[in-house]
Symmetry: D2
Subunit: 385 residues, 4 copies
Amino acid sequence: MSKRKVCVVVTARASYSRIKTALIAIQNHPDLELQLVVAASALLDKYGSAVNYIEEDGLKISERVFMVIEGATLATSAKSTGIGIVELSTTFDNLKPDVVCTIGDRYETMATAIAASYMNIPLVHIQGGEVTGNIDEKVRHAISKLADIHLVSNEDAKERLIKLGEFEDKIYVTGCPSIDLAKDVLDNPEMDFDPCEKYGGVGSYIDSAKPYLVVMQHPVTTEYSNAKSQAKILVEVIHELDINTFWFWPNPDAGSDGTSNALRSYREEFPNNKLRFFKNMEGRDFLKLLLHSKCLIGNSSVGIRECSFLGVPVVNIGSRQNRRLRAHNVLDVDFDKEHIKDAVLKQLEKGRIESESIYGSGNAGKNIADVISKIELSINKVISY
Amino acid sequence: MSKRKVCVVVTARASYSRIKTALIAIQNHPDLELQLVVAASALLDKYGSAVNYIEEDGLKISERVFMVIEGATLATSAKSTGIGIVELSTTFDNLKPDVVCTIGDRYETMATAIAASYMNIPLVHIQGGEVTGNIDEKVRHAISKLADIHLVSNEDAKERLIKLGEFEDKIYVTGCPSIDLAKDVLDNPEMDFDPCEKYGGVGSYIDSAKPYLVVMQHPVTTEYSNAKSQAKILVEVIHELDINTFWFWPNPDAGSDGTSNALRSYREEFPNNKLRFFKNMEGRDFLKLLLHSKCLIGNSSVGIRECSFLGVPVVNIGSRQNRRLRAHNVLDVDFDKEHIKDAVLKQLEKGRIESESIYGSGNAGKNIADVISKIELSINKVISY
Amino acid sequence: MSKRKVCVVVTARASYSRIKTALIAIQNHPDLELQLVVAASALLDKYGSAVNYIEEDGLKISERVFMVIEGATLATSAKSTGIGIVELSTTFDNLKPDVVCTIGDRYETMATAIAASYMNIPLVHIQGGEVTGNIDEKVRHAISKLADIHLVSNEDAKERLIKLGEFEDKIYVTGCPSIDLAKDVLDNPEMDFDPCEKYGGVGSYIDSAKPYLVVMQHPVTTEYSNAKSQAKILVEVIHELDINTFWFWPNPDAGSDGTSNALRSYREEFPNNKLRFFKNMEGRDFLKLLLHSKCLIGNSSVGIRECSFLGVPVVNIGSRQNRRLRAHNVLDVDFDKEHIKDAVLKQLEKGRIESESIYGSGNAGKNIADVISKIELSINKVISY
Amino acid sequence: MSKRKVCVVVTARASYSRIKTALIAIQNHPDLELQLVVAASALLDKYGSAVNYIEEDGLKISERVFMVIEGATLATSAKSTGIGIVELSTTFDNLKPDVVCTIGDRYETMATAIAASYMNIPLVHIQGGEVTGNIDEKVRHAISKLADIHLVSNEDAKERLIKLGEFEDKIYVTGCPSIDLAKDVLDNPEMDFDPCEKYGGVGSYIDSAKPYLVVMQHPVTTEYSNAKSQAKILVEVIHELDINTFWFWPNPDAGSDGTSNALRSYREEFPNNKLRFFKNMEGRDFLKLLLHSKCLIGNSSVGIRECSFLGVPVVNIGSRQNRRLRAHNVLDVDFDKEHIKDAVLKQLEKGRIESESIYGSGNAGKNIADVISKIELSINKVISY
């Protein structure tokens, strides 16, 4: 019997860590053949070249798909998605997968979902049924409507998908593969690298043995024009807190050029501060850096998901993660300089927090490969109402 | 106060009759400015050049957007949607609408929905919340998830959208504008034109004063490879029934070349039969033709919607309209030659059927313009669960 | 030693007969591996599905590339070329050819030339150095400037390319492969099929044993708006001549919808005339039909090229072939009803004309394969001035 | 009489300084209406946001066209050109220009040329007829073949175009507008700004009153894989020369990510050196910086063109400007560390060089506007052979 061909499209560094253990499990599964497509910002130096980590992890890449139109305006986000559909439909025509998997809610993920569903290829959506609170949420639930099979992080997501009209027998709670990586780090917690030395980056040298913060702030696409001013505020907060800080550059959503500009200005204005900027970090190292940090600041979903399992205090800013399921590690604030500063100080007082398994318990990758190898594949989907 | 700019994208002949009275009402509304974009197959001679009727109806066209990649394979449907996003995002950038409207569930409708929602323009979806039973249904509900406001045909659709997680205060029951046209025809029922004389077409002359059937069969995208053989069967059914028949060509979904081929072969095989083929007909004339027909055969939604109001018997074939709300005029059959023939004979016995208002009562266009002129516009959408 | 990978992109039915014997010779050459890409109108039913003939001829197709945006306006021609570049650069990335070949001067041929030269793949241009007299000429010479190697039809073309700044050692006179097919037909001249029976078509039955004309008229892209009226005039000429006529449908340049419309109107206006319309014909059969015809009328290059070798009288209309090298079989006229009629009558008086070898002597396919197998491949091109 | 609508498409910072005075002259001309389209890298922060300077110079922008697909591989250069054609054909459809102007030989310039010529809009090419020695040359001469009118820098270019088959009456020697800017700087030579203070940049502070070098090195697209290693060599040369140096970042051709990487590594390896990196500089300031520099090093055409007029010594490296017309200010070397170093030392000894007018004498902008206002516009082009 021939192996079931599973095409997974990875479009960003963040998505890769949300799927890595599943990719490895699919590649190693006796009944599955992995067709890995690396696309969009996952290919770009500017956004951390996830493609390099993918290759280092021993995953074989079937195709590379360039689809991001430069400019980071709202129109270029839309156009990049359009180009992605044009390109991925060729890719699927060539690879002829039995099933296509897409992950999460990033704007360009829609390109995978449309190309697959319009070409009558069964579509698996990983991370459906969650809520966040912005354009991402529109995209995520729209993809759920195009998807034939849902592999979700927790019972909360499953219940939501059922309410949203999906049939229960098409939904599998596998946990989120990002927690698999967090579990591995919790099991092997020693800080075994020097961030500045290993990753270069720009700014002051920071000793990771001393207390430090981590910042990861993404532009919010529905607040596009504010991207620059918000980044500026955050830069000032960190400056006033005066604690060593590792700062990660944002992903290529609309607005990211604004953020980058603010960071660059800052770097030139305050050359001798306690900041170190990175564009990216190997996933495992990043989790270790988080695990040993005093607090994560920003609006990254990593604060809600991985940090809940790692027990790291998080100050979550603004609307981007609005309605996502939270553990006790998260303190929410709006985009106000003083509120953010106060919240960080509160979290620093509390210290480490107990690990919670609300997004999985560490075996999601294996679960996902198993489900995909066994499910009945079909494209004749209806809703339950 | 400046007028609210309402951009409506019409992508097909069928969609045009689903929106025509609303377009006129928007154009005439004192607080609204219509920005009419005619795109995709609505521009193409091969699919009936809806654009000509639009101009004859006195509507001013703001932009024409060519986006259909020739080939009618599944991949070209996907690619056309991708090109549509690339093109429409430019269009929206130029027109700067306050709100974008999209209609129904055709594959390329997704291009409008993605371009608008990714560009942070409030999106109104007309005809959401209905069910049909195939790829169209995936597309329709996915668009509902991207839409900020829903203007629906009936309470059934409203209830379904609420169950699907949309907020009640974002849903307005306006009725379907296609029923506005049907009402006008019911009010003025006389058959005032000769179809063959007015529309040319190909085949035998048919006298519309004598009993006749109408056929309108679209390829079903999830049964792509069967398009040709199914069209053939239907051709044989009509041949055996031996009643005068007006037959309309299909729309440009994947598979339509297959259907066209079968029809062409037939025309050459049986040159002296009782068939007349048309590519299209002005909406009002088409409804009159239906009103006076003995039965509509095929899988067009016109059988389910307009014919319920007109009281015309319908033999609905196959899965395309599977789960759509039906009145008493519809008899459903699978794609079997004998079953189809039997069903037509049964409907011919019954004769005309009482008018039902399950898709509106004839004032939808005005309702839609009124709602759009008054609603609060916002893009910060969440689902209700 | 691995074989040299030769990627040839065929974009139209007409281009296929200009390259067919070369494709076969490349496929059979011990040092070459053919990578055949069938693209654009060569894939479309509407334009004769060259792809079917290609497969019947035993050629293995590596990729199919859909790139034609429907609409046949000038803008869609440009857009189709743009999409072609996007698609073909993916194709070349996948196939990794050692050399790419492109043929002639059709608008979409530019897509092949740009994709190859921008990707640093040596580009061979077949049929460079010829002159015609319209937009095609701009395209042809622009492609010559992008090409690294030129395989031309005759010394005239070679001399022109040298004058245009190309180096003599990059130009090979191979003859045109279309003449290879004409030679085969001259060697086996018997009319061994019935056109109407074998190819169907639309219109009256015509007996090919009796005297007949052939019409093949393409829209001229720089006279776009006239396409429809010109087709009408030609229809009238044929009607007044009152001789049996085989008429072939035009190719998908901008304006072709106009031509098709005029032909369709005519077919409906004069149902019982002496006309038979075909969309296409297998190349060999078409050449036999020409060989036995009394005269070819229109603006097809087949009149200038193949007919010079076949010795068939030609009435060449308008500017499309303006400056192309002619043999004694061609009579040129402008687009005037009376002038065209007079010219046809003159040609009918003359009868058959002696064969001339100005476009090759029948072994071009083999020559082309041999040159491609031996030339040094390089992309570092300069001009000679 | 309505004004002649002149659409100029500017795609890069470098192209802007090649056309700036012409744009101003067109905007101010009583018989012309400027339709300025800013596209491709001219819109991108990463490549110096020429768009900002354009607005500061008081030019009104009609449309912005994003078309660069991120990735900087050869395939993305091709794809960007394809997208450019798709987008610009919409732009031209909207603006309906009487004539389109394109400048130079950059890869994406082809998009303008194809969109205009395929849409039957007369095309003016500025800077045709020059030679350089790489892919740019293929593009430049291919565009000449698509162009209807040529506005060239000097008699040398005119003679070459005539040899290449263009008609003399379609060629106008206007001079190059970049020399207009150089003339203005020669007329007002005082160094009236501090580069580091005004432009920020990254690296050490450099006092422009002391002797300094300028580096401007572009990746060579036909030597793609070497981009990184070549940038490294150049970095070492400058390090060993140990003279203050202003270094400018490259433009977004294929290979530019490689160059950027090398520069970044260096900046981190040698933090306290005599280097200052800039992404861009307002044209006039850049010319002043050149005027007062001891030597320009690299492969930029500015060394060949503007510096010939300014009398600045230049060390021109590698093949990029291979065959361009030179004045006495240029010393050519291959890409060898020692050869480059020696050449710089030789130029430093010589000092300033006499101004030469081989690319114009300072009134090109006005000449261009005058020619465009008076020429007969036509698209029916043939070559002269």
